[in-house]
Subunit: 218 residues, 2 copies
Amino acid sequence: MSPRRADPRTRPALVDIAARLLAEEGPQALSTRRLATEADSSTMAVYTHFGGMSGLVREIVHEGFARLQRHLTHVRQTDDPVADMALLGRAYRHNALANPHLYAVMFGGASLAGFSLTEEDRQHGRYTLGNVVKCATRCFEAGRFRAEDAELVAHQMWSAIHGLVTLELGDYLIAPYDAERCFEAQLTALMISSGDDLDSAARSVALSKERMPLEVEG
Amino acid sequence: MSPRRADPRTRPALVDIAARLLAEEGPQALSTRRLATEADSSTMAVYTHFGGMSGLVREIVHEGFARLQRHLTHVRQTDDPVADMALLGRAYRHNALANPHLYAVMFGGASLAGFSLTEEDRQHGRYTLGNVVKCATRCFEAGRFRAEDAELVAHQMWSAIHGLVTLELGDYLIAPYDAERCFEAQLTALMISSGDDLDSAARSVALSKERMPLEVEG
DNA sequence: GCTTAAAACATATCGGCGTTATGTAATACT
DNA sequence: AGTATTACATAACGCCGATATGTTTTAAGC
């Protein structure tokens, strides 16, 4: 009374193929039949391994959050915590722009397609705020931010930058108020509203821009 | 050589039904067959009047932007332009929460389903920024905001509040950092980053909260 | 080592989707 | 009155997710 073993290659293969299809062709390329074709199997594989299409999507969303987490963790701490914070914002945006379809599914897929994320799934998203919270605390300790709730500051960063990124991905930000310009302004504004000086904020944001290509990559 | 006249009731009926279905049951309830059933017609009506499902969706998105525009226009000017600005933010959020599925299609539908918005469609969205730009200018003139680019300020408001609203609609904001709390903080932070005093900003935001139920309705 | 239960898959099918092809009825101009 | 043109109905095509029903493989129990 023992079951047949699954081919250990099929499950990760399905995830890989699905992630590639999502990245290259968008969400409408994610179908059981397409996956079966690309994986040289039948549509049933998706059901045995993930219980359906939404299960596979959830798996990919998990990976998306993990990738975001990795991006944020790669930002090193320096003696300018405000610049570190700005770099966290840049890393967040960089990750979203590098995986636009995935990002759309992570944050917009809940209400749109049939895909509905679990509360546990969303917890993954909130977990990535930890890096930002820690950085905000360091900004307090350095006297750069008003001593307020670090988590609240993190949520403000998240909202503002997430909003900018989604507008950017939706092509709502065009010249002369393009995403680049709005983003730089947004970063500075966030630091100012958290208590930093106008000049210090501008300096730190500029500094984070120089560190950008070195510490953030896909 | 003259055509048959369309029943003048069918087209608006389709839009009404579609809007209701979207609001009550979400985007997956929008299907040609479902519409045909509800309108007691055939699936062809959608094609003759809108050229397909996406055309009908675009029509509804237009209406969504018009409704948003109406909400923002109903905010009256007072002698406290910062409170007016905060009330614009409240009206924006109120509209989004009152029509969550529609809002999701307006800003997230581009990349997700098959629906793709035209550049003209997006222009409707940007047009609603006009109210905010005007209000920002009044904040400059009142000496409450640093004299900077009014359109840039409007874009920052938009990004930040849009981001908060999408996170809220995606159930990413939960207690103790729920949407209500984050939103109030976000409003104040936006006023501060634009140049207003900490205390004045808090006062104006509080003032806007009192005006809220009177001037903003669905 | 055979039996057997259970899991991994394949095949076929169902209902639903957007869309298109084809047919029919109605209208307003020539 | 004739006719072109459009509105709409019906039916079909090719997708989709999902399920039901085999079929094969595996490992545990005897």
